[in-house]
């Protein structure tokens, strides 16, 4: 380093990049572009291609060819339709429950709680993110088994909890993805100036009116941001249904059971959640909230 101290030669790389704008640009975005196009888009593209292939009925080997059969089956097999609708409703329910929990919690944390309570709650919300995903699912399974914690705790009251079914799936998914909703909502509420609450109160609005007329409109972008996570992550999940859903089947279950048996059907089916998410984002964009995110 110290040998090269002549004028103009101290930073040859910087000097070169200064002169060559295009190289500079490639250097800047080359790696992320390779990631997005080379890995992300390309693998999605490969997946889409597979969806047009078919399986040899005799050897059940995948044959390269062209058929729309796999896509048609999504719309013609009753079990597939009902599974798609069920999954959509579960994902919407998870999002809805997350919002219902996140908004009051966010208001309390941002505007009412003392600093140490706020910090404790923030840690409590993010803590589950540190535990393994599968561990959390199995934990929920153990809580809700027939002789598990839930029934044990409520037995003195004569209440017995639900067995593994769709409500437990929704509960478990909410448990898994709640932090992704709670954190943006909390941040958004925190940014609402306190004088808006004062102004609302001065004009005679009670608590719920203030929440409905002032808080909610201002945090819609945060709710949309959070819902993108809760919705799309729920759409793609299958282990929750497998371990806590009893006989509940979701889109992910169909993909998982076909990934070895009939890869083209699995590939075609993986387009369904993608379609749902795209439609969801388009609707969200319509509301204008994506721009304000």
């Amino acid at each position: 380093m110290s040998t090269n101290t002549t004028k103009g030669g101290t930073k040859p790389i910087s000097a070169y990049l200064y002169k060559h704008a295009r190289v500079r640009l490639i250097g800047l975005i080359g790696l992320p572009m390779f990631w997005i196009v080379g890995v992300y888009i390309f693998s999605l593209f490969l997946l889409l291609i597979t969806a047009f292939w078919f399986v040899d009925p005799f050897t059940s080997k995948v044959i390269v060819g062209f058929t729309l059969e796999n896509f048609i089956s999504i719309f013609t097999v009753p079990a597939y339709i009902s599974t798609s609708i069920r999954t959509l409703l579960i994902a919407l329910a998870v999002t809805g429950v997350s919002v219902i929990f996140a908004v009051p919690l966010g208001i309390y944390m941002a505007k009412i709680a003392r600093p140490w309570v706020r910090n404790a709650l923030a840690v409590a919300i993010t803590l589950p993110l540190w535990a393994g995903y599968l561990v959390k699912i199995i934990a929920m399974r153990l809580v809700f088994t027939e002789q598990g914690f839930f029934n044990w705790a409520l037995a003195p009251l004569g209440i017995s909890g639900p067995t593994f079914s769709i409500p437990i799936v929704i509960l478990t998914l909410t448990y898994l993805w709640f932090p992704y909703m709670a954190l943006p909502v909390f941040t958004a509420i925190r940014q609402i100036p306190p004088n808006l609450f004062d102004a609302s109160s001065d004009m005679g609005a009670k608590g719920f009116t203030t929440i409905y007329r002032i808080v909610l409109p201002l945090i819609v972008p945060a709710i949309i941001a959070g819902s993108v996570f809760t919705f799309s992550l729920s759409l793609g999940d299958y282990l929750v249904a497998k371990f806590t859903g009893g006989s509940t089947q979701m889109i992910g279950s169909i993909i998982a059971s076909n990934i070895n048996l009939n890869p083209p059907v699995a590939a075609a089916f993986s387009m369904v959640p993608i379609a749902f998410v795209v439609i969801y984002l388009m609707v969200a964009r319509r509301t204008g909230s994506l721009e304000r995110m």
Partner: protein
């Protein structure tokens, strides 16, 4: 392609002629199946120095691979698979030399040309000590040619919580019929091959369907089995493919009756969780070693099959996994071995006569019918997806 079809026809014609002339022992003689012509290994050569195995958990363990590696110089690389379907997918990559396939994977691999016929002369330990019920079965012996070396077997039993049922159910009706007293607390196996369990039940209760082999279902028979499975879907509590989930389900009380394996009952470790073989009989898994048609380590693969067929090693695998060993000479080797064999009915051919070994369903009816086309595994797969709704 056309030539292939023609040869299939002539094969069929010849086989019919042969059939009318003689009918030798076993189920397999009745069926000719079109398989790719793959040459078998003629004579042993030098060991290649490595062997890549796809296996069930517990089949490959340093307890017996260390000695094999020292003896042959073939270094063992093992890849554990969770399901038969995963095994088939892995074997088709061509990266593996040998697989411990169950019958529902084996026949698929054979007709797909993914595995090669075996030269049993090069496997001296594959002999009379192998349990009679594990020899010459359709899933690994096709057109008289052996493709697999038996490892072990187990039945799909009816497991029940004795505290609730107060005695062993005598029939599978407790998991199939809507009036089952255990409605909502039933578990079923989560794979297309479970359709065969419905067929076994129908064989007994609906003889008018004419099912003689649960793996040879024509369209009408498959439809009946699917209808039964859809009926079961309304009373089932859980489907299991993960063994741990099934065990916790029985132990936790969510499941009272359902399909299980002897080893899972053992793992559950509760005196009130028991298994039984109901009057209808059942299905079972019979595992064999199959050698890839694309293997580069064929000598190591043969050495491995021979080594694992010895009574002591085969017995060690069987005890480690929890199944009946193929080599029943193991049973008399020690008191512990005998206890294991008795627990898993290894020498009880009368027991296993009631068990239909998992076999991949193919278009050729494996029950020997020629006048109809049977439903293939692909059709079973598609049908299976419609059951859970």
């Amino acid at each position: 392609m056309i030539r292939k079809k023609l040869s299939a026809f002539s094969l069929l014609a010849v086989s019919v002629l042969i059939l009318s002339g003689c009918s030798s022992s076993g189920d397999t003689s009745g069926v000719e199946i079109e398989v790719p012509d793959i040459p078998m290994h003629e004579s042993m050569g030098d060991f290649e120095g490595e062997i890549n195995i796809v296996n069930w958990a517990g089949f490959v363990d340093p307890k017996w691979t260390d000695k094999f590696e020292a003896d042959t110089g073939c270094m063992v690389k093992s890849r554990t698979a969770g399901t038969s379907d995963e095994m088939v997918t892995l074997m088709r990559t061509g990266q593996y030399d040998i697989v411990s396939a169950s019958g529902d994977a084996a026949l698929r691999l054979i007709v797909g040309g993914d595995v090669q016929p075996l030269n049993v002369d090069l496997i001296p330990n594959f002999g009379d000590e192998i349990a009679p019920g594990m020899r010459n079965n359709i899933y690994d012996t096709v057109n008289g040619k052996p493709y697999g070396v038996p490892i072990g077997r187990g039945a799909n039993l009816l497991q029940y919580n004795d505290d609730v049922t107060k005695g062993a159910p005598t029939s599978w009706d407790v998991v199939w019929e809507t009036n089952s007293p255990y409605k909502g607390k039933i578990t079923a196996y989560d794979a297309p091959i479970y359709i065969a369990d419905a067929a076994v039940y129908l064989m007994y209760h609906k003889p008018e369907l004419g099912i003689t082999n649960p793996y040879a279902l024509d369209q009408t028979q498959l439809d009946a089995a699917i209808a039964l499975l859809k009926q079961q879907n309304t009373i089932v509590g859980e489907y299991w493919s993960d063994a741990v989930a099934q065990i916790t389900s029985f132990v936790g009380g969510n499941t009272v009756v359902g399909t299980s394996w002897e080893i899972l009952r053992k793992f559950a470790g509760k005196p009130n969780i028991k298994t039984t073989l109901p009057k209808e009989g059942s299905t079972g898994w019979y595992d064999s070693w199959l050698v890839s048609s694309k293997t580069k380590n064929v000598n190591c693969a043969y050495a491995w099959m021979d080594y694992t067929s010895t009574a002591s090693v085969n017995g060690a695998i069987a005890m480690n996994f929890g199944m009946a060993p193929a080599n029943i000479a193991f049973c008399s080797s020690s008191a512990e071995a005998q206890a294991h064999c008795d627990e898993f009915a290894a020498e009880d051919e009368e027991f296993f006569k009631q068990v239909w070994p998992w076999t991949t369903p193919i278009e050729t009816c494996v029950d020997g019918r020629k006048d109809v086309k049977c439903t293939s595994f692909q059709e079973w797969t598609n049908a299976w997806a419609t059951i859970k709704g």
